[in-house]
Structure formats: C-alpha cells, structure tokens
C-alpha cells in the first residue's frame, strides 16, 4: 500500500499527486515531461524540494509537516532508471551485490539467497565477471534490475526500463519483469509510454498530465487517457496464455512451426518451435499496426487468426488513431486511419472483425 500526498514545484508546473495505490504493480503513464520521473525520484528521496507525505506499508518515508524525511539510504526503494546506471568500475557481480554486501550474520545469508535468486531469475549468471562497458543494452537493464532486487527493496521504481532497448530486447526483458512481480512479490511502479506494456505488467494505472493525475484505475481503461497529448504513446497488444500443439499436429506440413495460444476463450495460431513443450506458459506481442480491422465477416483470407468482435472505443486524431476491438474476450488495439474509420463506419458498439497473421506474433516468453 502506497500512500502519496506529494507536492513538488517543477520548472513548468507543480507536480501534485494525492493517491492511494494498492496494486502490486502500478503503471504510470504520461507524455514526456509530465512529471513521471520527478515523481519516482521524490519517492526514492533523490530529489529535494518535495513536500507532503509518503507512506509505504505503514512506514512514513516523508512527512514534511512532522519534519520527517528518511534519507534515501534508509528508504529501501529500488530504482531502475532508463539508462541502467551501473557502476562502471565494478563487475556485474559486485554491481548486483552493491546494495546488500554490508549485511552480516543472518542478514548475509538471506542476502546471498536473494542474490542467487535475482541472478537466476534475470539469467545473468554468465555475465557476473563482466564489466558494464561490455554489456548490451538489454543485459545492462537486467543487471540493473537484479541489483535493485538484491538490495531487498520494499518497492521498485522502474523508469521506462524498456524504452532504451529495441523491440526484440524488450521482448526478452518483459518476461523477467513478470517473474519479479509473480515470483519475488516485490511491488513496483512502472513508468512507460506503452499502454500495452502497462496492461501486460500492471494491475493499476495512473496517467499524469502536467503534474496532475488525470486518470487512475484499470490499465485497460487508461488507454484513452494516454494517447491524448502523448505523441510517443504506444499500444502494443500483449497476450499471455498456454501454448499448445496445434490440433492437427498429426498432419505435419500444415501446422509445422505453429502452435495454439489459449488466452481465455480465444485460440490463437502463433509461431512455435517444434521442440516447445506442450502446455507451457507463453507471452506474445502484436504491434497495433499488424491488426487488420474489417466491418464485414472476413472470408478467404490468408491470416490464420480471424476473430469476430465489436468496437469498444475509437480515438482518432488528425489522420489516424486507435480502435479498440473486443474479440473473443481480448481487447485488441489496432492502428487505423481516419479514412478507414469513415469508410468502414466504425463506431463504438458496432460489430467488427479482426485479422492477425501468425508471423506478426512476437514471442516474448
């Protein structure tokens, strides 16, 4: 439970956040310069000038009225910035141990256990002897995440941890975040521009605009708030489910290289390795550009995934925008042009069909 009642004067506006966040994973969305990073830094105690109260799980980190402000080293808040910020003079192992190597006795034992756990979950065992300068962007992010976790934080602050890495790397790191959330049970605040990412990792979303919370609630509902005024906003479709062998696995050729992803009631044909164990948990991403929309039933089309559904919402800018379509229990984000919306007569509540080719599903896990 995070209780925030913060005021922080910034150059262009004053950041004011008064909110109780209960989710284990909270996404903070908003355009660049909307105060997201300032909010994280205030919580971590790395930025002077914030007034108000910060209470996490009953412990007061900041209460300017009571003249109480815990220094950052006593807040136990893990921070993972966009550029990882690893210590360049220390190898990966000493970076990861940096926050826990002062413990002794029983503390040292549990610190060692946590170190092993962080290293194994983030799969950095083979990087331990290397120095940050020799790591790739994705490796650095994983090490930074491991370092934050190994310090046993009560809360993790992730500042666009995936913004600096390309799509393929993002796909590889996202699953690690899900493991941190589900296996280590460390709650986190996750700053991002990507509503799809937010939906994949967060249970609760907050949208900031010019330092003010304009929306708080379910990540799905944050979408409409995000794209307004955030040119960098992205809405990747992220799908998690059980991967199974295709039903006609016996008749080889047709199904080679594909599997069936079960997400709720939906059955999606996705790319899969023959060696994939059946019934494993898998996560896929589909870019909104790759979701085709039709206002009529689709027949005779090569796409393996054709799903009937209905338009939930439309948000169209000057020339293009987003259509949200609910099909077989999944809300899909599709990038559509203004012209297409008019020609197809798309409107909330109207039926729509979507088509997604097998090969546009990117495997994240």
């Amino acid at each position: 439970m995070i209780d925030l009642d913060l005021t922080l004067p910034l150059a262009r506006f004053t950041l004011r956040v008064a909110r109780r966040l209960s989710g284990r994973a909270v996404a903070i969305l908003g355009a660049s310069g909307s105060g997201k990073t300032s909010l994280l830094e205030s919580i971590a105690g790395l930025r002077a000038g914030a007034s108000g109260r910060i209470v996490i799980d009953g412990e007061t980190l900041l209460d300017t009225r009571a003249l109480r402000s815990l220094p950052p080293e006593r807040r136990r808040i893990g921070y993972v910035p966009q550029d990882a910020l690893l210590f360049p003079h220390l190898n990966v192992e000493r970076n990861v141990r940096f926050g826990s190597d002062k413990s002794s006795g029983e503390g040292a034992e549990s610190a060692e256990r946590l170190f092993r756990e962080a290293v194994s979950i983030l799969e950095i065992d083979r990087l331990l002897a290397r120095f940050p300068a020799t790591l790739s962007g994705g490796e650095r992010q994983r090490v930074a995440l491991a370092r934050a976790i190994a310090a046993r934080p009560r809360l993790l602050l992730l500042d666009e941890p995936l913004a600096a890495v390309d799509v393929a790397l993002k796909g590889r790191i996202l699953p690690y975040l899900l493991r941190v959330r589900d296996e280590l049970h460390v709650p986190f605040l996750y700053v991002t521009h990507n509503a799809g990412e937010a939906r994949a990792v967060a249970e609760e979303a907050v949208v900031l605009r010019e330092g003010t919370v304009v929306f708080a609630g379910a990540p799905e509902q944050a979408l409409a708030w995000v794209s307004q005024g955030d040119p960098e906003a992205r809405f990747d479709n992220i799908l998690a489910g059980r991967l199974e062998a295709p039903p006609d696995a016996g008749s080889k050729d047709a199904s080679r290289g594909t599997g069936v992803l079960r997400v709720g009631e939906a059955r999606l044909v996705v790319p899969a390795e023959d060696a994939d164990p059946s019934s494993s948990l898998a996560v896929f991403a589909v870019s909104p550009e790759d979701v085709l929309v039709s206002s009529r039933p689709l027949e005779g089309i090569s796409a393996r995934n054709v799903l009937p559904g209905a338009v939930v919402a439309l948000e169209i800018g000057e020339t293009s925008g987003w259509a949200r379509i609910r099909a077989q229990g999944i809300e899909w984000n599709a990038l559509v042009t203004k012209e297409a919306v008019r020609e197809l007569e798309l409107a909330p509540g109207r039926p729509a069909w979507i088509a997604v080719k097998t090969h546009v599903f990117r495997r994240l896990r």
Binding site: L46, P71, P72, R74, G78, L85, F87
Partner: protein
C-alpha cells in the same frame, strides 16, 4: 661541513613525501567540496586556494614566517606546546605543503567533477550513506586523478625554494634540500657540485612527470574505451 649528495637527496625525498601525505586527505576533502558545491563561496575558496600558484614563493614564505612569529597568536600557541617549526625540517614540510596544495587539489577536483552525481544517488538508494557512496563510488572512479595530483604535488615539493628558504633557512643537514643546496653551491662557486645535484633533480623530475603523463594518458584511453557504442 660537507654534506653528502645522498643525504641531501634523502632529506628532500623525505620532506616531499611527508608534505604530500599530509596534504593528501585535506586536498581530497577540499576538492570534493569544490566539485560538488556551486555558489559564491566556491569561487572565493578557489581563488584563495590558487594564490600560492601565482604569488611569489618568497611572499608566501614571508606570510608563513609572520604567522609563526613567536609573538603572534599561532606562534605563541606552538611555543607553549613546545613545538618549534621555524628553521627546522618541519618548516620545510610546511612551506612545500602550502606551495603544492593547489597543484594537488586541481586534478582531484577535475576527476571528481567527472563522476556522474546520479551514480552517487544510485549508491544512496542502495543503502549507502553519503560518506560510503563517496568511498565506494567517487573515490575509485577518481583514483587516477588523485594519483596524478599526488605525483604533481610531490614533484612540486621536491623543487620548492622560495618559501622554504624564508621560513626554514638553508641549513646543511637540517633544512637544506636539493634546490637550496644547488643555490648555495653556485653561491660559493662550486658549479661542478651544483651541476651534480641538478642532474639528480632532472632524473627525479623526469620520473615523476613521466609517470603522471602515463597515468593521465591511460585515463583518456580507458575513458574512450569505456564509452558504450
């Protein structure tokens, strides 16, 4: 009384080493303060600290002599404590320390200024106090600058003359360093003996400056190499 070249060299090295080691922790502290603080106080402090670099060394020596005068407050305090400084080897240490202090502060400050303050903030969020963050992040990231500054201050201390002769005199066997001995020998026309000492100072200076160059070169190279592609 003829003092051997060897004992002059030994005294010079000892005095330079003691003086450099004495000012090292102070200079590191001052450099850290200067690197992290902005404002009018910083400019004033920097100007005062740089004075020994630009003032005539004899002026600095005279100021020190005045400060340590028996009738002055500081001199009286030292006198009561039974500490004698003027015209002893301690005076040589004092003179060289004051003269080489700015040379040590500058490169150390430059090295500290290159440490990303966000790395220090990161260390704090990982549970380290400001002092621990300084020791574990700022110091190791700046060690080349600190070593280069130390060697520079040491070589300056080896050759100090003006301030030394005023507060320590030129007493063979007690306060006579290489620079003072060369002066004395030329005064009495023993140019050959003076040149012998000059050769010693050239070798000493060469070794320290060369080492400093190697360290700073290496610094530039590793920094370029460390930059992520």
């Amino acid at each position: 009384m003829e003092i051997s070249d060897g004992s002059i060299l030994l005294l010079t090295l000892r005095v330079a080493a003691v003086s450099t080691l004495l000012i090292l922790p102070v200079a590191v502290g001052v450099a850290w303060f200067l690197a992290r603080r902005a404002g009018p106080g910083r400019t004033l402090a920097e100007t005062i600290l740089s004075l020994p670099l630009v003032l005539p060394p004899t002026a600095v020596g005279l100021l020190l002599l005045e400060a340590l005068r028996r009738s002055g407050p500081l001199g009286r305090l030292l006198d009561r404590a039974g500490i004698e400084i003027v015209f002893t080897w301690k005076a040589v240490v004092l003179a060289t320390a004051v003269m080489s202090f700015p040379l040590l502060v500058r490169p150390v400050r430059a090295a500290f200024e290159e440490v990303d303050p966000r790395l220090l903030a990161m260390a704090r969020s990982l549970g380290h106090t400001p002092l621990q963050a300084f020791r574990r992040v700022a110091l190791p990231l700046s060690w080349r600058g600190i070593l280069a500054g130390t060697l520079l201050a040491f070589s300056r201390a080896l050759g100090e003359f003006g301030a030394t002769i005023l507060i320590a005199g030129n007493i063979p066997g007690r306060t006579q360093t290489l620079a003072l001995a060369i002066f004395q020998r030329t005064q009495i026309g023993a140019d050959g003996a003076a040149l012998r000492l000059v050769a010693v100072t050239v070798v000493l200076a060469f070794v320290t400056v060369w080492t400093t160059e190697i360290i700073t070169r290496h610094k530039a190279r590793t920094r370029a190499g460390e930059r992520p592609a």
